[in-house]
């Protein structure tokens, strides 16, 4: 790629390192490392929520899926439901999480559920669910980093992945959540700016909206419809999984623990949702334009649909904007990666040990070490255990949604929820996701065609959570008055 593109991306990477160095100086204890000292304002939290949810899958994969199947491939369901899910998460638990954070040293989802249920068991299961998801997510982000960096700097995949991970490590190990949220802020601004600019270039390259539509119709009328070639049942399942399941994503929920004042919650949902929707303009604009140009024979054949966005940046935008665009893709990948590194550390250093009645001393030091170990392990997995990364990759959104939405979110809104309901719903969600996703790789597909496994697991987990809670009601209320008060909204 051109030196301008490589130069812009290199400048972006240097800026993230600089933010990391600054954040490392500000990180002095475990509270800073996990919840940024509970001192964040609205804009930082809102953009950190948006960027930690908007991953490489959303930008690269979303454009690829749109290129493959039209608007229904990603934007119409996942891309629109996720920002609705942000707003629902704010309605459901924003204030409740913020209030529980005031009860003292609440840094992780495990801390929240232990306060709520008074049960180390629920903490442990939440820790296990988060740890499984983190390993899967990180492996995928490592592969995506290597893929993009090798294309930009024209270097071998493994070298590229190592360089990307070293940069991520520089700011994530030292700066923890402070580094993560402030690089997220920087990365979010790049993502939104590039998205807003490139959509016009894309429409122009496609000869205008109507020309794009007519080209798509000439190839397949369904491609010019809202759901593309994707079955409506799948769209409905994705709307549910991403609309409701967003509230179960740990990288979103933990942000509510970091806010300094409840008034900062007011506009956060709207800002996060609008920022995410703006990136959907990029995904829809480039995906449909590339498809339209492909129909006309004016877009190169691709080895994989995931290359559609990078190809478009390089071939159809000026080098400076292409550089910013590729930096934006890296931003989406790295911002998700850093959020999961911190979640993984919290789970392994705080939640799982405490559930076993074991407290780790000097959590800050050990968290930094665990982040470094997670980086190395995810790198080795992506180099040598490709199949395992693919298998763990299924422990993504659907697992978090099904495992955490009932136990954490419904648990906070419903005083009659019990620890048994929480534990059994997490177990049911993990089993359902494991069996359906891994079974699918070996031709075991018991659900009707079009049903999304994660959506099925989420609905099963909700039913199990409510039903088990109803049949395991304690003789008297076991929730402390402080927690009960925090649960009001």
């Amino acid at each position: 790629m051109s030196t301008t593109i490589a130069g812009v991306v290199a400048a972006y990477l240097l800026a993230t390192i600089a933010i990391g160095v600054w954040a490392t100086r500000k990180t002095k204890n475990a509270g800073d490392f996990f919840v940024a000292g509970r001192n964040l304002g609205m804009l930082v939290v809102a953009l950190a929520v948006f960027t930690s949810i908007q991953s490489g899958f959303g930008v690269l994969g979303g454009t690829g899926l749109t290129f493959e199947s039209g608007l229904g491939g990603f934007v119409a369901a996942i891309g629109f439901a996720a920002p609705l899910g942000f707003v629902l998460a704010w309605f459901l638990v924003a204030k409740r999480m913020w209030r529980i954070a005031n009860l003292g040293e609440v840094y992780t989802l495990g801390d929240v559920v232990e306060h709520r249920y008074g049960s180390p068991g629920v903490r442990g299961w939440v820790g296990v669910a988060v740890a499984l998801g983190v390993i899967g997510y990180l492996g995928v982000q490592v592969q995506a980093t290597g893929f993009i960096m090798s294309a930009i700097f024209d270097i071998e995949f493994r070298t590229a992945a190592v360089i990307g991970l070293v940069i991520l490590g520089i700011y994530a190990i030292g700066g923890g959540t402070i580094a993560a949220v402030y690089t997220d802020l920087f990365q979010g601004i790049i993502l939104v700016g590039v998205s807003a600019a490139v959509v016009f270039i894309a429409i122009n390259a496609g000869g205008g909206v109507q020309n794009i539509t007519e080209n798509l119709q000439s190839s397949d009328p369904a491609l010019a419809s809202p759901f593309g070639t994707v079955p409506t049942l799948t769209i409905a399942c994705y709307l549910f999984l991403f609309g409701i399941g967003a509230a179960g994503q740990p990288q979103l929920l933990t942000k509510f623990l970091m806010i300094r004042d409840s008034k900062e919650l007011r506009w956060g949902a709207l800002v996060s949702a609008v920022a995410y929707l703006l990136t959907m303009l990029l995904v829809a604009g480039v995906g449909l334009t590339a498809l339209s140009l492909n129909v006309q024979g004016e877009f190169p054949a691709l080895d994989s649909p995931d290359q559609a966005l990078t190809r478009f940046f390089v071939d159809f935008t000026p080098p400076l904007l292409a550089g910013l665009g590729l930096a934006a893709i890296l931003a989406a990948i790295m911002s998700t990666g850093d959020a999961f590194l911190n979640l993984g550390a919290a789970s392994l250093i705080r939640d799982i040990p405490r559930s076993l009645n074991f407290r780790i001393r000097n959590e800050l030091l050990w968290s930094r070490l665990v982040v470094a170990v997670l980086l190395v392990v995810s790198l080795l997995f992506s180099f040598y255990l490709d199949t395992l990364v693919a298998l763990l990759g299924v422990f993504g959104w659907g697992t978090f949604a099904a495992a955490l939405f009932p136990a954490v979110v419904l648990g906070l809104v419903w005083p009659r929820a019990t620890k048994h309901g929480a534990i059994w719903s997490i177990i049911a969600s993990l089993v359902a996701n494991f069996v359906l996703e891994i079974g699918g790789l070996y031709d075991f597909a018991p659900l009707p065609e079009g049903v999304v496994n994660g959506a099925f697991a989420l609905v099963v987990a909700i039913v199990v959570f409510i039903a088990v809670s109803l049949v395991t009601q304690p003789a008297e209320d076991e929730t402390s008055p402080e927690v009960r008060k925090a649960m009001e909204s």
């Binding site: 002095k28 204890n29 800073d32 919840v35 000292g37 509970r38 119409a76 629109f80 920002p83 609705l84 707003v87 629902l88 309605f91 913020w98 005031n102 009860l103 003292g104 040293e105 909206v209 109507q210 539509t213 009328p221 369904a222 010019a224 419809s225 809202p226 409506t232 049942l233 769209i235 409905a236 399942c237 709307l239 549910f240 609309g243 409701i244 409840s262 008034k263 007011r266 506009w267 949902a269 709207l270 929707l277 001393r361 000097n362 030091l365 419904l410 809104v413 419903w414 005083p415 659900l447 009707p448 079009g450 049903v451 099925f456 099963v460 909700i462 039913v463 649960m487 009001e488 909204s489």
Partner: protein, 149 residues
């Protein structure tokens, strides 16, 4: 929580259980309408859970009801438009097929409206300043404790 609000929140959870079972049936019966319209009602229930202190009151029902009705209308019109063919008709709206234009412009606008409704119905929380100070001190104090170990 007030007794009346608590009872209402229990009823809401039973409604959610009913909707979840309905969605399960919809998925197993391959009925996208059952899944989709149940999901929209789940959205309404989720919004109501954001107002448990005020339940059963007029404001929560108005906010949740308007969001559910607007989304319901969007999908119902889309359903009618695409009944015959996926692109609706041979006309164009802003260069797009009518269903595409309706969905691409309508859904995000409703997301924004829902976000605005959250902001305008938001009431700031009052937390005991002493409690807050204690919590801040706990976060700040942990370091010296941790480092000395």
């Amino acid at each position: 929580m007030e007794r009346e609000a608590m009872e209402f929140s229990n009823k809401l959870m039973y409604v959610l259980l009913g909707l979840a079972v309905l969605m399960l049936v919809g998925m197993l019966a391959s009925s996208w309408r059952v899944v989709l319209y149940s999901f929209l009602l789940v959205v309404g229930v989720s919004i109501l859970f954001g107002f448990t202190r005020e339940l059963p009151g007029r404001r929560p029902v108005l906010v949740a009801g308007s969001v559910v009705v607007l989304y319901g209308l969007l999908f119902a019109v889309l359903d009618v438009m695409t009944g015959g063919e996926p692109t609706g008709s041979t006309n164009y709206v802003l260069g797009m097929t009518p269903p595409m234009a309706l969905y691409l412009l309508g859904f995000p606008v409703l997301v924004v409206i829902t976000g605005v409704l959250y902001a305008v119905t938001f009431t700031q929380e009052d937390v005991d300043p002493e409690l807050l100070e204690r919590e801040r001190a706990a976060i700040g104090g942990e370091e010296s404790e941790g480092e000395s170990r």
